[in-house]
Point group: C2
Chain length 435, copies 2
């Protein structure tokens, strides 16, 4: 079956917002064997919306529409869908309960404009929204079954998984294909190199499709399999997964989509260990990532975000002589920061960052993109210098944080074979992390 | 004049790559008074490409097409353009020189497939590519003037500025439309309520269009205006902007798209003031936001992310009796954290958070979504309890951080009229921040 995707809204049409929903939906549909022919975006324009829905209804079997289901006057999708199908809008009692339950749950007053969200085209089927006020719906226009979803990404994603994909697969009928996805998360390889390492998987395991997704600074290698026979499919997926894991080697962070901060948290928990952070250039991002994991208070006790030298001395006990001699961005400073936070926080491990995220502050010796990561554990401590060739401040904060967590991860696993061991020892390595 | 944008390529169609080009082009065209009606994306499919170019050629006056100008077999754009216009492909001597000059400049060997890039539709005009091998071209199909550009973002952007915008403006001639966008960023109003407050702007100022964009936990109110007379347009925009600002009142954070952390940073700089943070439940997110702003080291010195009670006592000097009596999530604890970090960091202001982000840890008295914000300044300090009805940990971290920054912002501006003043004074207020 063939599908199209329609994104609605003036903020996307006018370029104020990049439409990431359509790519997400496309990838999900393609994973499930539904071919996506076209994406379209139009603004909050009733006449054009109606015309576009009719065009799509004449062209394909399935369509997903995002946006325009909110409570305000520029939310026109339900009205446009009714117009395209030639039906009226009516109050859908279940949709009203969906909206009301959301307000009841959070003890907030429901406004009259929220009632508008329960007006759905006659003959449409409600798609329950478990995480927001905008109910979705599905409706036939022309020869096409449309699925209308809110534009808020996390609401859309949840409803796509719960309603749209199962609905589309059941419409596909007997030719039901089983599908599997394996996600291998890596760090330390650029996308092109990761791609080269696993490019042969499609030839080695016929029927397996390879996809790469850059989720900076992590790269996800995805293996997609489809077959009518689930047992055969599982066997083939297992073989292909093993093949890819061997080729990606120690750059693999997880095999199940787990992010770096969750992996590190699990490793700490398994060891009944704890962590303290001393952040300079990463400015709290490391702590923020670690504390995004529910239950992280079991192993994360304290982070000192020491942006000034004085705070490095006062809070972490970095020696003024070290700062005078080497400056803030140096292996020895990073090591003293890691040791200091380990002592102050009373944790098993200490991890630190000090570097130059940019846009200013770079020198010939220490250009923007330079970071020193400090590690302190029960047996040893070290500082290690890394360099990343990115000019952007926010990218540098992210890759610095990820590189620091990767050093901690490898030390927890006992696979850190790089230089930079022993007390007061420093090291410099340029280029990709972990190479 | 009306325009459309077409992105081509299987990597975009299949969702492997998010199409950021179309948003960029839309914004540039709209800035120059050219109304963008629709974006489309289709894959590397010759028949569909020809059909889509013809459709667009029937609908609008101007179009920008990106992608498919490379040397490989799946680069089909020139062939599709020739097919849609009913002309042949011929070797364009200037285009060949464009390609050759690039290889000469970088001393790289030119392959036969690169010669293909110089085959352009008969009657087309070359658009010189100064930064890559793929020459662009412009061609009329139907009633529409098409501009074909490479898909590589930095090549596309350069050629859009140098060729497409000037070309379109000269085609527009006298009837050129001017357009303006005003972005008002708010915090503390749900989207529906923000929408209701400003819904009347379109009636009060004919020709102004309203758009709302939720960028959780901030809501942006956008006013779009278009007119052939720029002076009239500016006057109408100013009136509409004033009207909306009055209705949104003290929930307005900025009038120019500036985010909360940038506003707070600017206010601190203007006052030659500095800030220290003491974070519990927000786990470093507040520090991370503040340090996303380049130059923030001028006013941000230190954040103590004190997840454990011991760290609150050791690093911030919170009194053990306070923690024993009230627990970590309390107005008085938050106040002592803010005072402590102000003292430790030696800053003008101290700001703290302690709360329950979830998913666990809530009680009847202090459910998930409860946060106590502490403020300490030269003249006073206080703790204030807030409650937000969100169940998700990451949303809570965000809205807690934003609420804390909003309390700092209002105190910097002298507009914090809420309760919770004076030393050791606490307050509790439920519901939306700032209400």
């Amino acid at each position: 079956m063939k599908a199209e995707i329609l994104a609605t809204g003036d903020e996307i049409r006018s370029g104020a917002l990049v439409d990431s929903n359509s790519a997400y939906i496309s990838a999900k549909l393609e994973e499930n064997g539904i071919q996506v022919m076209r994406h379209t975006c139009v603004g909050d324009d009733l006449v054009l919306l109606v015309a576009t829905l009719r065009e799509i209804g004449d062209r394909v079997d399935l369509a997903v529409v995002t946006g325009g289901l909110g409570p305000t006057t520029d939310d026109l999708t339900a009205e446009a869908a009714a117009g395209a199908a030639g039906v009226r809008l009516t109050l859908n009692q279940s949709a009203l309960e969906n909206v009301e339950s959301f307000f009841k749950k959070f003890n907030r007053p429901m406004t009259e404009s929220n009632r508008k969200q329960a007006l759905l085209p006659e003959g449409s089927q409600l798609l329950y929204n478990p995480v927001g006020t905008a109910p979705g719906f599905s409706l036939a226009v022309g020869r096409c079954r449309f699925f209308f979803l809110p534009g808020v990404p996390y609401e859309m994603r949840r409803m796509l998984d719960e309603h749209v994909i199962p609905g589309m697969l059941s419409l596909q009928g007997d030719a039901a294909m089983h599908s599997r996805v394996k996600t291998i998360t890596t760090f330390g390889l650029p996308e092109s190199l990761a791609g080269e390492k696993v490019a042969g998987v499609e030839a080695a395991f016929p029927g397996i499709k390879l996809g790469l997704r850059a989720n900076f600074p992590q790269i996800q290698v995805k293996l997609y399999g489809r077959d009518t026979d689930p047992a055969k499919l599982d066997q083939r997926m297992a073989g292909a997964g093993q093949w890819a894991l061997e080729r990606l080697g120690r750059n693999v962070i997880s095999e199940n989509g787990e992010r770096m901060e969750a992996v590190v948290g699990r490793l700490l928990l398994e060891r009944s260990a704890s962590i303290g952070l001393a952040e300079s250039c990463t400015g709290g991002l490391l702590a923020n990532w670690l504390t995004n994991v529910a239950g992280s208070s079991a192993y994360f006790f304290f982070a000192g975000v020491t942006y000034s030298n004085q705070a490095k001395i006062d809070v972490l006990g970095v020696r003024p002589e070290t700062l005078e001699k080497h400056g803030a961005v140096h292996e020895e400073t990073a090591r003293e920061m890691a040791e200091g936070v380990r002592r102050v926080a009373g944790t098993t491990y200490g991890l630190s960052t000090s570097g130059i995220a940019g846009p200013d502050g770079g020198t010939e010796d220490k250009p923007v993109g330079t970071v020193c990561v400090g590690y302190a554990g029960p047996d040893r401590s070290f500082g290690r210098r890394l360099y990343f060739p990115f000019g952007k401040r926010l990218m540098n904060k992210q890759i610095f944080s990820m590189a620091a967590l990767d050093i901690l991860r490898r030390n927890l696993l006992g696979t850190d074979k790089s230089v930079g061991r022993g007390k007061a020892e420093g090291s410099t390595c340029k280029g990709e992390p972990g190479t």
